[in-house]
């Protein structure tokens, strides 16, 4: 039977042995270190993507349909190219004729515009929309406010900017009330959105790098020749399918699509994000799993090798311990603990490396290393240590004491 003494003695011996061979022990754990770094970073990225997905989903809003010339996911873009543009007038008509919607919001966008404040500048999308955008997006500015109907109808040069735009242009200054230039035109900043994070470069769904201005103003400054999106948020408590069919029917009539022909517009929802997310996560998962398994395998073989060396080097010590009354189980345990301890140190080293890396990831993709992955990494490390230590430890345990003592 193993006693507590065996345990503490085992740890003590292990630490002494590892301390005596610092460099060797560190090099041996390389595989474990890489394995743990990959696992933790993978989990961190997936977690961050999940958070970004949630943000994106909520920023797109549940129960919100996006009527557009384009299909966001799937569909045939070459067909879509020949479709009529979706116009502000169609949006206005839908708002009047379709009664099941809580809000029908036109959004028109232009990409890669320059935002300037003092000597700083960044690029991003500019969107023209109406105050009800707050309803369809489900997001209100973190600082300041969205523009109101008066500003909207009058086409006032005001804007709400995304978090990254604010950070890059203003650094520590308070943006509210300041005037920035968008493509050379002056706009007063009246609101800032909170950070959302970018989901897989689907930057068009993240408000972080964008600015929002009144539709009237947009059309005046940037022209009327763009196809727009219409965001439709349904009333609560409706039958979703009925409401959707009704919406499509109404919009077909507005667009003059003859019965029997397919829609000449895309009906998009946030669901596609989930599909992209799932496929990306499973790709990361598979690749990460392969790299992790490989490095753990290499690490395990390394540990096994070094444990064989350790057992060989300490043959005389094993003989001595046996002469003093150590049982096979005590010796077995001693070397298992040593292997596990080396691996745990590798695991801790891996965590020490991946922690700062996860903070860097956090800068790009808001995320946190999940706590469970820390526990998982250490458990995996211990398991690798035990598995690869078992054969060398067993070799040590079953040594004949006389032979071990004679070993030079």
């Amino acid at each position: 039977m193993l006693s507590l003494h065996d345990y503490s003695e085992g740890v003590k011996i292990a630490l002494t042995a590892i301390r005596a061979n610092k460099m060797r022990s560190v090099l041996t754990t390389l595989g474990i270190v890489i394995g743990v770094v990959v696992v933790t970073l993978m989990a961190t990225v997936i977690e961050g993507l999940g958070t970004a997905l949630d943000k994106s989903i909520s920023s797109l809003g549940t129960d919100v349909y996006y009527l557009s010339k384009w299909d966001w996911f799937g569909g045939e873009w070459w067909k879509a190219r020949n479709r009529k543009d979706v116009t502000v007038e169609e949006a206005e008509e839908l708002r009047e004729r379709f009664q099941l919607a809580e809000a029908v919001v036109p959004v028109v966008s232009t990409w890669q515009r320059t935002f300037k404040y003092k000597n700083r500048s960044v690029k991003g999308n500019v969107n023209g929309t109406v105050p009800e955008y707050e309803i369809t997006s489900g997001v209100v500015p973190e600082e300041g406010r969205f523009f109101n109907h008066y500003e909207s109808n009058a086409g006032r040069p005001v804007c709400i900017i995304g978090h990254d735009v604010a950070e890059n242009l203003f650094e520590r200054e308070d943006p509210i009330g300041k005037t920035i230039k968008i493509s050379g035109y002056s706009y007063r900043v009246i609101g800032v959105f909170e950070k959302e994070g970018d989901f897989l470069g689907t930057g068009m769904f993240s408000k972080d790098t964008q600015a929002f201005i009144p539709m009237e103003n947009f059309l005046k400054i940037f022209g009327t020749n763009r196809s727009i999106d219409i965001h439709v948020k349904m009333h609560e408590g409706l039958d979703k399918e009925d409401a959707k069919a009704e919406m499509i029917g109404t919009f077909r009539k507005i667009r003059g699509v003859p019965p029997g022909e397919e829609n000449d517009f895309g009906v998009n929802t946030q669901d596609f994000l989930k599909q992209v997310f799932d496929s990306v996560v499973s790709t990361i998962g598979v690749v990460g799993f392969l790299i992790t398994s490989l490095s753990l395998l290499v690490g395990g073989v390394g540990i096994m090798n070094i444990m064989f060396v350790s057992v060989k080097e300490r043959t005389k010590e094993i003989g001595t311990r046996k002469a003093l009354g150590a049982r096979r189980s005590s010796i077995l345990f001693q070397f298992l603990i040593e292997a596990a301890t080396i691996c745990v140190m590798g695991g801790l080293l891996g965590l020490a490396i991946s922690w700062p890396l996860s903070l860097i990831i956090d800068e790009v993709l808001p995320s946190q290393m999940p706590l469970w992955v820390v526990g998982l990494s250490l458990s995996i490390s211990i398991a690798v240590g035990l598995i690869s230590g078992i054969v060398p430890a067993f070799t040590a345990a079953k040594m004949n004491p006389v032979d071990a003592l004679r070993y030079e």
Binding site: S3, H5, D6, S8, E9, T16, A17, A20, K316, E317, G319, T320, R321, K322, A323, L324, G325, A326, R327, R328, S329, S330, N400, P401, V402, L405
Partner: protein
């Protein structure tokens, strides 16, 4: 009942091409509190006999009873237990753990005996003090002289209060003056009631014992009582 009862013990090593008879029919009894020196030329089987007595090795044939118990019937754990509680080994090459302090080295058998850390520390300190190393407890082997190292080894052998001390050429790696110091320790232990068996090449070391056993070619060539064993004081 003798402490050690050995009857017709044979130990043969199969070296493939030839059989090496390290022990070829040894019979011998040792009583409690005897002080036995085993002598004989190199290769005569002294170490092999010690290993059998110390339960480190099992004879090829023959009977070995320790405290009336048939050692051949014991399993691995029971043998470990006997080595731990009944036998104290002292080796020619000291065999101390190089990276551990004197104190921890002496604690080793107590750890395997499952003694609490508080008690074993006490015991180890006692044993080290008894061999005159009370002021060297936290030294590591490479910070100690050869004689001091061997004294740590003696303290380690004593720590668990064994019934018998087995020493295979304990002074073999020491100069004669330090050797005498170690012999003084053994004489003291013997006076206190311990059983001592030691292997030596040197007549003046063997002269401390009360009985001298001579091996030749794996057999006992002579077994004599010593009329007036040397006291350590006389040999200095």
């Amino acid at each position: 009942m003798p402490l050690i009862h050995i009857k017709d013990v044979v130990k043969t090593y199969d070296m493939g091409a030839e059989l090496v008879h390290a022990l070829s029919g040894v019979s011998l009894d040792i009583e409690e509190n005897e002080y036995v020196a085993i002598m004989g030329p190199s290769g005569s089987g002294k170490s092999t006999l010690m290993n059998v007595i110390g339960c480190l090795d099992t004879p090829t044939s023959g009977l070995y009873q320790f405290e009336g118990q048939n050692v051949g019937d014991l399993d691995d754990n029971e043998l470990a237990e006997i080595r731990n509680r009944k036998i104290g080994f002292v080796f020619q090459t000291f065999n101390l753990l190089p990276r551990s302090t004197a104190l921890h080295n002496v604690e080793l058998p107590l750890i395997y005996a499952g003694m609490s850390s508080h008690r074993r520390r006490e015991r180890a300190e006692e044993a080290l003090t008894a061999v005159g190393l009370g002021d060297r407890m936290t030294h590591k082997p490479n910070e100690l002289s050869g004689g001091q190292r061997q004294r740590v080894a003696v303290a380690r052998a004593l720590a668990n209060n064994p019934s018998i001390i087995l020493a295979d050429e304990p002074t073999g790696n020491l100069d004669s003056k330090t050797g005498v110091e170690i012999m003084q320790l053994f004489s003291d232990l013997h006076t206190q009631g311990n059983t001592i068996i030691l292997v030596t090449h040197e007549e003046d070391i063997a002269a401390h014992a009360h009985r001298v056993l001579r091996l030749f070619d794996g057999k006992i060539a002579s077994d004599e009582k010593v009329e007036s064993p040397l006291k350590y004081a006389q040999s200095v």
